[in-house]
């Protein structure tokens, strides 16, 4: 079997297995909890009568939900693997472990996309509907974000293998990143020193692009889209290097098995 065909098969099978594991809880969290969590932002805007800021408060849960579920499932899947004892078996197989993780990331990202229509409905129900002035740009921006999100999930899956418990880390990084990326409010609100760093986060660029696509305000979104895709590719490269290093480190420490 040629190598690329094999890799594709590994990714597909990993995605297939992932879809079957803990499906019900993830569907609930992706399809219900995430949009509801965003509901509080929407409610805040409604209370203050700032429906003009819909592009911010309605997109926020979509953006954070996509990113968050990539982190949670890459983290959780690793700790579940560790607990189930399958992590060792995965490392021992000839297939690159990164491919298995990629398959997982794809599966969970697809699941988290369900949150999008749910959020839009919740927003409309709460009286803060989101207009989408340029649907094509919106769709393309979303696709680019999905790609970058999966890549980030890969990086964190690699990092989580090293942590003894992943739930600790996966939450620490989320909120600062969401602030930095201007998911619910403009980056201009942040201290001047911090703002340049948002250029490194694909989510920040994607947030701007998607908001522009929703409101129709602004132009030259190609820069933003290009940044998201370029960063995604960078993340993949980092993840690949990371996996080699992480696997080696873990085999040195002997910390694959759970205690």
């Amino acid at each position: 079997m040629p190598t690329l065909t094999w890799w594709w098969r590994v990714v597909a099978e990993a995605a297939r297995v992932q879809l079957r594991l803990g499906l019900h809880t993830r569907l609930i969290s992706g399809a219900i909890l995430s949009p509801l969590g965003g509901g509080i932002y929407i409610l805040m805007a409604r209370y203050l009568g700032r429906t003009d800021l819909a592009a911010f408060v309605v997109l926020a849960p979509i953006l954070t939900g996509l990113w968050g579920s990539a982190m949670t499932s890459s983290g959780e899947s690793i700790s579940t693997e560790r607990d189930e004892g399958t992590l060792e078996l995965l490392i021992a197989a000839p297939a690159p472990a990164a491919l298995v993780t990629l398959g997982r990331a794809i599966a969970t990202t697809i699941e988290s996309l369900i949150a999008i229509p749910v959020t839009l409905v919740v927003a409309a129900l709460l009286g803060v509907p989101l207009p989408i002035a340029e649907p094509l740009l919106f769709a393309v921006g979303l696709a680019a974000l999905v790609f970058a999100t999966m890549a980030v999930g890969l990086i964190f899956a690699g990092i989580f293998v090293l942590a003894r418990t992943t739930t600790v880390f996966q939450n620490v990084l989320n909120w600062p990143l969401w602030i930095l990326s201007g998911t619910a409010f403009p980056i201009a609100l942040l201290p001047g020193l911090v703002q340049p760093f948002s250029a490194l986060v694909a989510l920040a660029w994607a947030a701007a692009v998607l908001r522009g696509a929703a409101t129709g305000i602004g132009s030259s979104w190609w820069l933003g889209l290009g940044a998201v895709v370029a960063l995604g590719i960078l993340y993949v490269a980092i993840a690949a290097r990371l996996f080699v290093a992480v696997e080696r480190r873990v085999r040195v420490d002997g910390s694959l098995a759970s205690f």
Binding site: V10, E13, A14, L89
Partner: protein
Amino acid sequence: MRPTTDSRCQQPPSGAPRATLAQARHGAVGYGPHLVSAISVRDLRRTYRSTKGFFSTSHVEREALRGLSLEVERGELFGLLGPNGAGKTTLVKILATVLLPTAGSVEIFGSDVVRSTTEVRRRIGLVFGGERGLYGSISGRDTLRFWSALYRLPSDAARRRSDELLELVGLRDRADERVWTYSRGMKQRLHLARGLIARPELLLLDEPTIGLDPVAARELRQIVGRLRDQGMTVFLTTHYMAEAESLCDRVAFINEGLIPLVDRPRVLTRVASEIRYLEAELPAASADALASRLRATPGVREVRLSPALEGFAPIAVDADTAAYDVALGALADAGAQRVNTREPTLEDVYVRLLGERGMRV
């Protein structure tokens, strides 16, 4: 030229006649120089570090393997026998490329486990077993399907192979049910099927029959024996002496990270049959006198007398079979109570074997 998956391991390596396999099985030293050992371990060391306590940053180091060496020939069924904590699982994990050695060299079919990891992983199968290592919410068949993809089997070959293996391990009827519904024995069988999915040249089994009822355990052993007969090299760890005896071509003892003994199982049986252990309780008054008498008796290896409790002193006697009757008689005469004979344990046989070879524990 890369061998296809079908040609692997159905025949002994080309050029080696069946007779040589049989010779190896009965104790001859190995093949000719053109054939590489299945497993070659030299001076292997493995140390674990862990932190102590809540607040401390100091480390505790534990040497699990201390300079261990081992050779396993192709086509052998090799057993690693030792008590819990001796380093069996650590060794198997290193062989499986899941753990890195701290020092020393480990080669599988000539490939180094550290430098040629992918090559090694292609050729080995693992059966780590137990309740863990399986995804509960997918079916047995899907489990095999998943792992076959990871082991690079094309889809139709994978399907055929899964059916074949499910039949072999007797899971065909329950194949489409989720693994969490399987009993312990069934899970173990699925582990075995999983390990065999890519027709490995070397099968690594870590305590494969632990937690299984005797019938299930025997069935599993039979399957493993047949695999060896078909030319697969099998390396298994166990702490059951009987298992090592009945199944293995050769057996190594491991204790505290070292392998001081490698031999044929017959040796175990012989030693085990030569030892008898008597335990009894002696009236405190006559205990010391009897203990000295027993120590002086030829064929009595060791006498351990413990302090008296409520007028009776526990005594343990290790004796050769020949001296058994004499010792028993002496105990009875002295008014011993609760006399009990027990079977030698792994430790006993091991210590006895070391003693024979003039080694210390």
